[in-house]
Symmetry: C2
């Protein structure tokens, strides 16, 4: 097997934090990212949070020479922010939008408006010297952000996303020889969502597997040394946190090894500002053809998997109960507003018909109250519909997890 040809694949992953008008020194950083990518000539570049199509277009023009193939994934109101640049042809594309992604009324968090998704690119890559040719499934993605670790209201949504992502990978990866996932998962390595994703798909963590590592301690990608990070958020984690990952697995008759993993360390190489508030993750993978097919590598053999699915299901269940409470209270609010409106209409009709001696309220407050009731009715109805959808999706995920648990327990 030692003599088999090997393909060396260099991957760059970065959450670019390129929000127009909001991100600091955005244009300068996007130029810097483009320059670095052109110099370094990676094989595959996975970027997140490129929210402006203009930034993508500029990068595309700049990188056309070394990365002739690229794709920008459009979704949501603002966009998915995901794009891929590749030295190898991109043969096919698919965008999967998570069914849950926060709340539209949480404007300050804004995740809902981004239409967070996973972008899948199917490409063929070929070793130049060797005869290695394999379809490559590369995924670029971002999951819902975590705004408060102690009281994480979005955990059920992030778990639904992790589950849908895992299911999506399981169902789409059958034709690929190698699966590569790069992205900002917004989860710490020991979090239940990461364990669920890795356990259910069999993906390996490049940081854990790397033969050689260079960069921030523990592979952290949000570090206090970065001048753009929010220092108060990192107070409980003096070394920083690791939430950006490169994960991989070989499907059929290939093996993948991570030769080297690097992260930037609070600034871009050779300059005094960082690429982004996140650190870039760069991996060098060795892909080699094996003698015989590796067999089932879907990672379902892990005996701890059932425990992880049970834990995730409990969290989704808690989210389901909270969503049901919110659906109930918004529904009740809508009914109350409707009753108030009906009462007012009855009072107005009675006055018009001359039943009451005179209008009991001044006209102005009467109208104001009616408009207030109407506004509450519309908003509460909208909320009720939204939480009804949320309940459906959480319930559906809980069901799917239960089905998987049953299958895991029945298997010897």
């Amino acid at each position: 097997m030692e003599g088999e040809p090997t393909l060396r694949l260099r991957i760059f992953n970065l959450n670019c934090w390129a929000i127009r008008y909001l991100s600091k020194r955005r244009q300068q950083r996007v130029r810097l990212i483009g320059d670095t990518l052109r110099q370094e000539a990676f094989d595959l570049v996975l970027l997140q949070e490129v929210w402006s199509e203009q930034d993508y277009s500029e990068l595309k023009v700049k990188l056309a020479g070394c990365y002739p193939f690229s794709h920008y994934f459009r979704s949501g109101v603002i966009g998915s922010g995901l794009c891929v640049f590749s030295r190898f042809p991109i043969l096919d594309m698919l965008l999967y939008q998570y069914s849950l992604n926060g709340y539209p009324y949480m404007l300050q968090h804004g995740d809902w408006f981004c239409g967070k998704s996973v972008g899948l690119g199917l490409g063929g890559f070929a070793g130049s010297r060797a005869g290695v040719r394999a379809p490559l499934l590369s995924l670029s993605l971002q999951l819902h952000a975590e705004y408060c670790r102690d009281k994480d209201a979005y955990l059920p949504h992030r778990l639904v996303q992790a589950w849908e992502l895992a299911q999506f990978i399981r169902h789409t990866s059958k034709a690929a020889d190698v699966v590569l996932l790069g992205g900002d998962l917004n989860m710490h390595p020991e979090d239940v969502g990461i364990r669920l994703l890795r356990g259910w798909t069999g993906l390996q963590d490049a940081f854990a597997e790397a033969m050689h590592f260079e960069g921030c301690k523990n592979g952290c990608t949000l570090v206090p040394d970065n001048c753009f990070t929010d220092k108060s958020e990192l107070l409980p984690f003096p070394l920083g946190i690791r939430i950006d990952y490169i994960l991989y697995k070989a499907i059929s008759s290939f093996t993948v090894k991570c030769e080297e993993l690097k992260t930037t360390t609070g600034r871009a190489p050779g300059v005094d500002i960082p690429f982004s508030d996140h650190e870039a993750v760069m991996a060098t993978l060795h892909i080699q053809r094996q003698g015989q097919p590796a067999g089932a590598t879907l990672g379902t053999a892990d005996p701890a998997l059932a425990d992880v699915v049970t834990e995730a299901r409990a969290e989704v269940g808690a989210g389901l109960r909270a969503a049901r409470r919110q659906r109930y209270s918004s529904g009740r609010m809508a009914v109350l507003a409707l009753l108030l409106l009906l009462l007012q209409a009855a009072a107005a009709l009675a006055t018009l018909a001359g039943l009451g001696a005179e209008q009991p309220f001044p006209k102005l407050s009467f109208c104001l109250l009616a408009f207030l009731a109407l506004g509450v009715l519309v908003l509460a109805t909208g909320l009720h519909l939204f939480h009804t959808m949320e309940v459906k999706m959480l319930h559906g995920t809980e069901d799917q997890m239960w089905m998987v648990l049953r299958a895991l327990q029945e298997r010897p």
Copy 2:
């Protein structure tokens, strides 16, 4: 090859039209469907428009004996309406929700609220006498309804759905030996959406391939003989229309043949009422293992495919232009409402500061106008956000189609 073992698979597909409080004689019809399914003992039952989970639960209890495996797909506000009953184990499930599905403000059409989706069930089936064992990918689905054929405002949305469905099938079907799709596609056989779906996936139409057919003329599934159909809709089509399909293909070393296709003919067998306003479609398929793998069966060899994709892309482009116009006009309306509000605020402030001699408007009309402007602002902003998403998704689909066209043209 003649001597190879054969598996006979019987499939039942029906749009059940089971809307609570709205569909006529719903409970009686659901009971009738359950009784028939129990008597007939199909291998696989794909149902659409089972909007009430209670109806599903009743069917599940009734059918537990002959169809021990089943799944109900939850999505949207009302649900997806999709469910599957199977004699063979359902190993895994995935729900893909189309990114576009009508407009939330078209309440009378209601498609938006249903969260229309395709439900995928991966099952293993086994021939009892023979040694045929193959993973089966079965899909149950419904696309956006057509409300006016001459001026079909939803055509771009339905085409995006057909495209996403085709892409979904291409990406998820690699591990299956046989793909089966049953559903209400809301498209006539010669429509561009059907040609796109069939051309891009290589799926075969059971009606066209059936060795023996029995049922309504031309395989129609919305027929004037059915007492529940809207006769005025069918005036241009005196024989009826065919919009419910069973499609299939064999992927690897299998062949699939349609031995028989049947439809009901305006009423359920042996009784005087139909199952639904749609006719049921029942197929008997023969699945046989071939000597050698059949090779590429993704249907991309069809030289007419490029024309179909071009035609579909033109329709999506027309939809994109319309969505951009709507985005623009809703944005303009929001800006006008905001300006009016600002003007009013300025006038109120000026009065409060004693700059004007007296309030130029009566208080009541002033307040009413302000509330009206606020209402228009909220609604127009919501519409603007919605149409922005619509533009993103139509644009993304147009891009993907262009990429496929380029690949098709480059191929010899």
